[in-house]
């Protein structure tokens, strides 16, 4: 496997990073780095960690890791996933950054502990913590319930002062969204991209063919996260198999962007030709600039969710037979 880290691996230009991925030869991972400067989204770090877990610590090699800014990889805990010594000399006790290093979560107890512990690490004001807790809670839960990953969920996050944004990544080495959805939704999930989009539709769960879900799953999680990202004008990306769905930012002048139950109706980019990644990567940038209260945001999502379910039900109603 090969990865190329560059000077600007952000979500807005994630295609370039994805195109440079090579998942062949899973027993070996080489991480190529730009020699002078590295700028890596936490989601990319979670993907690197997932690949390193697959290859095994001894089989991960760095190539050209000379950029001073590469110390960030060490600070975020990437060297815990490799046997190679870090070339950087960072004093972890002096860390005052607002970040969550790479963390593996394997069960709901670890999940709850992580959600409690992460807020002090990010030094967030009280009013801004619920949306982060909500997003992280739902995304980790998705991995634990649906991915069948033995390695659990790999999570990392970073606060960026300049943009007042939390960048977050969650990755797993599981079966991917398509396989997870295919048991009940084969005709709707012929490609990886179809499966990602179908998983984003409100009321659709991989655990049942019944729209509206079961006693344990409503099929609302990803739709809520996508909607939170959209209203707050944030990037949101899902990469699974060969499919990539990326929500694009709406025009700043639009105060109340319309939420859509069909992910095709959202301003987005997608592709179904990405290098095939067996697991799932979810990346999100959560802006803390937003003026919208989390409660009002949930209220808008509730309305859209309700009308989406009603509309789909209506389409199933039988017409009267007038003879």
């Amino acid at each position: 496997m090969k990865v190329k880290l560059s000077t600007s691996d952000y979500l807005r230009n994630s295609d370039r990073f994805i195109d440079g991925l090579d998942f062949s030869d899973p027993k070996r991972l080489i991480i190529y780095s730009h020699p002078k400067w590295l700028n890596v989204h936490p989601a990319i770090l979670t993907l690197l960690a997932s690949m390193a877990l697959k290859a095994g610590k001894e089989n991960v090699k760095f190539d050209n890791l000379t950029a001073l800014s590469g110390a960030y990889l060490d600070r975020m805990g990437l060297f815990n996933f490799v046997s190679e010594e870090s070339p950087y000399n960072i004093n972890k006790k002096e860390e005052s950054g607002r970040f969550i290093p790479l963390t593996i979560i394997k069960n709901s107890i670890e999940q709850s502990k992580f959600i409690t512990d992460m807020i002090p690490l990010l030094h967030l004001p009280v009013g801004q913590t619920d949306v982060i807790k909500y997003t992280v809670g739902e995304l980790i839960r998705n991995v634990l319930e649906h991915s069948q990953s033995r390695d659990g969920a790999i999570v990392a996050a970073q606060y960026y002062k300049k943009s007042n944004t939390i960048r977050l990544g969650i990755c797993d080495n599981g079966i991917g969204i398509k396989k997870s959805m295919q048991k009940h939704w084969q005709s709707r999930t012929k490609t990886d991209l179809d499966a990602i989009k179908w998983a984003l539709v409100p009321g659709i769960s991989g655990t049942t063919s019944r729209e509206g879900g079961t006693e344990d799953n409503a099929g609302a999680g990803l739709f809520f996260i996508k909607s939170i990202a959209q209203i707050a004008r944030n990037y949101f990306m899902i990469y699974s198999g060969s499919g990539v769905y990326r929500l694009l930012l709406h025009d700043k002048r639009v105060k109340n962007p319309r939420l859509h139950s069909n992910p095709d109706d959202d301003r987005h980019s997608d592709r179904n030709d990405a290098p095939h990644f067996n697991g799932t990567l979810v990346a999100i940038d959560l802006s803390l600039e937003t003026k919208t209260e989390f409660t009002s945001l949930l209220s808008v999502i509730r309305d859209v969710y309700g009308s989406a379910i009603r509309e789909r039900k209506k389409r199933k109603y039988k017409e009267p037979k007038f003879v």
């Binding site: 809670g137 839960r141 006693e215 344990d216 409503a218 609302a220 509730r302 039900k313």
Partner: protein, 101 residues
């Protein structure tokens, strides 16, 4: 009628996201109470927020199973605005699904 109280914080902490805990509460407390036609108060005191999947795992099946009895006998106390919104969402779509029957 005497009401039974459940303090959600004791089971789920200050942010209710652990669906396993929700399921445990549903099976051990909510379903038996409704089976005995008791009034049940879910007290969210000290809980700042909850995920939709937590609330779904907590109350969707009782609503599906007991329908009006659940809607009449379940009460929610000390809910933050976030918790209220999430409960309202689950009520909306569960009642939509009851209309199917």
């Amino acid at each position: 009628m005497k009401k039974e109280y459940i303090k959600i914080k004791d089971y789920a902490g200050i942010f209710a996201e652990n669906k396993d805990k929700a399921k445990e509460l549903r099976i051990s407390k909510i379903t038996p109470a409704l089976s005995n036609r008791k009034m049940l108060v879910l007290d969210f005191d000290g809980v700042s927020g909850a995920t939709q999947s937590f609330v779904h795992a907590l109350i969707s099946e009782p609503i599906r199973q007991f329908q009006n009895l659940a809607l009449d006998n379940l009460e929610y106390k000390n809910c933050s605005e976030i918790v209220k919104e999430i409960i309202k969402t689950v009520y909306d779509y569960m009642q939509e699904s009851l209309d199917d029957k």
